[in-house]
């Protein structure tokens, strides 16, 4: 059974790049452009891993992480951020507090993302 990974990011460049990185190594990838859509897919697909951006329109990442953890406390989530528009806010550390198992700073390459996914799957 192939591993299912849900990628949530408002930027299609990032979304599609992550899809390339992950499908390249054989993972099944679902994409969502915002937190609400991401949550819908999460309920429907029950992905093994969720990679979510933090700052997004409609529903931002932290809120999404909290919802997902409610639905499935064992959900494995990687938070990604290109740093905020709002200065001096360490969103990634906040995300970690609310249940993100790993955090990554953009820009990230295939190696970094795949490493993080594998570590989670192994763990």
């Amino acid at each position: 059974m192939t591993t299912k990974i849900l990628v949530i990011d408002d930027d299609p460049l990032v979304r599609r790049s992550f899809e390339q990185f992950l499908t390249d190594v054989g993972y099944e990838v679902a994409l969502a452009a915002n937190g609400r859509a991401g949550l819908a897919l999460f309920t429907k697909l029950h992905p093994d891993i969720v990679v979510t951006d933090i700052i997004m329109p409609e529903q931002e990442g932290i809120e999404t992480i909290i919802q997902m953890r409610k639905l499935n406390p064992k959900a494995k989530i990687i938070a990604v951020s290109g740093s905020g528009r709002v200065s001096n806010q360490d969103f990634l550390s906040i995300a970690a507090k609310f249940g993100a198992a790993a955090t990554l700073m953009k820009p990230i390459d295939q190696d970094q993302l795949v490493d993080a996914v594998r570590k989670l799957l192994d763990g």
Binding site: L13, V14, S17, F18, Q20, F21, G82, S83, P107, D109
Partner: protein, 731 residues
């Protein structure tokens, strides 16, 4: 005090005594005159009284004679006589004569005595003594009285003769002869006290009767003074000596029926004595009156003097402003003055109170002004148009740093303290003031004697007279040094705030751009890496993709720096020893710096601060790089110093490079601002430093001089806990 008159003064008592004397003198003269007049009158009165006595006596004599005449006339009508029965008539007459103690004679007109009741009837006829008179009576048929005559027996007699008229003829004369002593009875009839001399003188000037020593003088000739009165004005007042030789005041009155003269004399001594006594009494009373007058004058004088002394005392008290004692006096005018003084005293008291109040108000206002000037740090100078005199207030002395006890300095002394550059502004423009023009406000720089710099502001307000010409002017003087300093600081702060806001917005902008750039770089770097690995090594495609990757990596680094500036990149602050970080950084730095640049360090032990180690590295690196670039190819020195400054840790980086002008200095913290040639620097170095320092609640300041170098000072606050800890360690 008025100077006392140098004229001699005399006491009020003396004045009053003199008044009394001068008032009494005419009174004395007049009363003396009156007394004399009175004495004279008294004397006249006495003399008239004497005359009255004489008259009364004359009347009494006449009455006696008339009685005799009446008695004789009654006998004349006796029938015996008509019947010529002389013997019967003799008896009748003898009886009548006996009752009158006289002798009655019937006498023939030729003077022959027909009978005499004093003799026996039928005695020889003889001529009577007064035969001549009898014949005159018989012919005139009018009764007559004789003078004194002496009969052989020695008696002095007086006879009264009346005609016996029968058928229009006088065949007989009836006479009554009596002793003169009978007439002396009149003296007893006169009620007169004291010594007096009554004398009855017959027509011959012989004394007929006298009240004193009659036995001696009756029958004697009267004194000449009396005899001379027998003719002419027989009723008179005169002076005469008595036969005894006593001078008298005398008066004479004639007897109508006899031609006698009755004289009354009172010794002059008697009357004069009376008058003298009277005068004596009056004259004796005068000194008493004078004495009493003077005594009263003295008493009144004393009373007035007492009142005046009390008045003088109260006047002095009035002058001294002491309470005045009431003046007890019975003198209306003095009471009036005393009352006026009381009123004056009240008025003066009231005025004194008003003066005190005014003085207190004035004192309070002066204090008020002084304190107000002191608090407002505003002095004043008053200019007087008439004299050009200037009066400084206490605060003016303080502001211009002169000792008030030394007085106002002259213009030259004052001008020495004024800054050379402002010496044209500082003097007071008297010409303008005199023209009535308000001088424009001035500011001048001023050196206090202690060497301090002050900025003095001066502004005039003219106070013109009613006609518009200037009378006075008040200049206010203010030490505006602090104000000007504060203004400069405020301007600086404003400009700094503006600058900070500008950097802030730039940071926000940069952060936003960085976020999107990071997203953009995800496929650029990520996909390129993916693809690159799919091509064999040394293949042209792999080489081309590496170029894209290199570009992507540089872009990633740029974004990282921008984020650092915008503080968007999370920092991890820990308790950090900046000295240790500094040493590590400088080790790396030394290796990279050219040998033309000397790097000097002075790292003092400092308390730990809360900081991100990597960011601290970056600050040091950026500043050192900046310094090295400022020095360029020239020889130069970079000094790095770490010290504790108050509650901060200070990092100072100084270079001897080319320095910066003001324009550059103002913009050095702006991102992408660079003075370096394109490709030499990103222009982000100092803005990143600024971002990091701000993120650490630190401050950064820079001073620079073109051609001499620049100096950056960064201060990080020492956390409270560290401060306490370090203090404990130190102790």
């Amino acid at each position: 005090m008025t100077t006392a008159s140098t004229r001699r003064t005399y006491s009020l008592r003396l004045h009053l005594v003199l008044i009394a004397m001068f008032c009494m003198l005419p009174a004395l003269v007049i009363s003396g005159y009156l007394v004399l007049r009175l004495a004279e009158r008294e004397s006249e009165h006495d003399q008239e009284e004497i005359l009255l006595t004489a008259r009364t006596m004359a009347a009494a004599i006449d009455r006696q004679i008339q009685t005799q005449i009446d008695v004789l006339n009654a006998l004349v009508s006796a029938p015996e006589l008509r019947n010529r029965d002389h013997e019967s008539f003799f008896r009748h007459a003898a009886e009548v004569a006996k009752g009158h103690d006289a002798s009655i004679l019937l006498i023939a007109p030729d003077g022959t005595r027909l009978f005499d009741t004093g003799l026996a009837y039928g005695s020889p006829k003889a001529q009577v003594v007064n035969a001549e008179r009898v014949r005159r009576v018989a012919s005139s048929m009018k009764p007559e009285t004789s003078d004194v005559f002496r009969v052989p027996s020695g008696r002095s007699l007086v006879g009264v003769y009346v005609p016996v008229v029968l058928d229009g003829k006088a065949p007989f004369v009836l006479g009554m002869v009596r002793s003169v002593t009978k007439f002396s009875e009149v003296f007893t009839e006169v009620q007169r006290s004291g010594t007096w001399i009554g004398t009855i003188v017959d027509a011959n000037g012989v004394i007929l009767a006298r009240n004193l020593r009659a036995e001696t003088f009756v029958g004697q000739p009267a004194p000449d003074a009396l005899r001379s009165r027998l003719t002419g004005n027989r009723e008179a007042i005169f002076t005469a000596d008595t036969l005894e030789g006593v001078p008298t005041y005398a008066a004479s009155s004639p007897s109508r029926l006899s031609g006698w003269l009755i004289a009354v004399g009172v010794p002059k001594a008697e009357i004069d004595q009376t008058i003298f006594n009277f005068l004596k009494a009056i004259l004796a009373g005068m000194p008493v009156a004078v004495f009493l007058g003077l005594l009263i004058a003295l008493v009144i004088g004393n009373q007035i003097r007492r009142s005046l002394r009390a008045l003088a005392k109260s006047t002095l008290a009035l002058g001294r402003g002491q309470p005045i004692e009431p003046v007890r006096t019975t003198i209306q005018e003095i009471a009036l003055i005393a009352n006026a003084e009381n009123v004056a005293h009240d008025l003066l008291q009231e005025r004194a109170r008003e003066r005190d109040r005014a003085a207190a108000t004035s004192r309070r206002m002066r204090e008020h002004l002084m304190i107000a000037q002191s608090v407002a740090q505003t002095g004043s100078i008053e200019w007087d148009a008439a004299t050009d005199a200037l009066t400084w207030s206490g605060e003016t002395f303080r502001i211009l740093d002169f000792d008030p006890t030394g007085g106002q300095p002259d213009l030259e002394t004052f001008m020495r303290q004024v800054d050379e550059r402002d010496r044209d502004k500082a003097p007071i423009p008297f010409d303008l003031l005199h023209r009535g023009e308000t001088p424009p406000p001035v500011e001048y720089r001023y050196r206090t004697t202690g060497g301090g710099e002050r900025i003095i502001f001066r502004e005039f307000r003219l106070l013109p007279k009613a006609d518009g010409t200037p009378e006075r002017a008040i200049a206010i003087l203010r030490d505006i040094t602090e104000l000007r300093h504060a203004e400069r600081k405020r301007r600086e702060a404003e400009s700094q705030l503006l600058h900070a806001q500008k950097l802030e917005s730039l940071g926000t902008l940069a952060g936003g751009i960085a976020h999107d750039l990071n997203n953009t770089l995800v496929p650029v770097i990520g996909i390129t890496k993916m693809m690159r690995n799919k091509f064999p090594e040394a293949s042209p495609q792999r080489e081309q993709l590496d170029l894209i990757l290199e570009g992507g990596e540089r872009a990633k680094e740029l974004v990282k720096q921008v984020l650092a500036f915008s503080r968007a990149e999370p920092s991890q602050k820990i308790a950090l020893d900046l000295g240790a970080v500094l040493r590590d950084s400088l080790k790396l730095l030394r290796a990279s710096l050219p040998s033309t640049i000397v790097l000097q360090e002075r790292i003092e032990p400092v308390p730990q601060i809360s900081a991100d180690r990597a960011q601290m590295h970056q600050i040091i690196l950026n500043l050192a790089t900046n310094a090295a670039q400022a020095i360029g190819d020239h020889m130069g020195t970079i000094d790095v110093i770490l010290t504790k400054a108050g509650s901060s840790v200070r990092l100072t980086v100084t270079d001897t490079g080319k320095g910066m002008d003001d324009l550059t200095l103002r913009r050095i913290f702006e991102p992408f601002f660079t003075t370096k040639d394109v490709g030499e620097g990103t222009g982000l170095g100092l803005s990143v430093v600024h971002g990091i320092v701000s993120d650490h609640q630190g401050t950064i300041s820079v001073t620079s001089e073109v051609g001499a170098g620049s100096r950056f000072d960064i201060e990080f606050p020492i956390p409270e806990v560290t401060m306490t800890a370090s203090r404990e360690t130190m102790s």
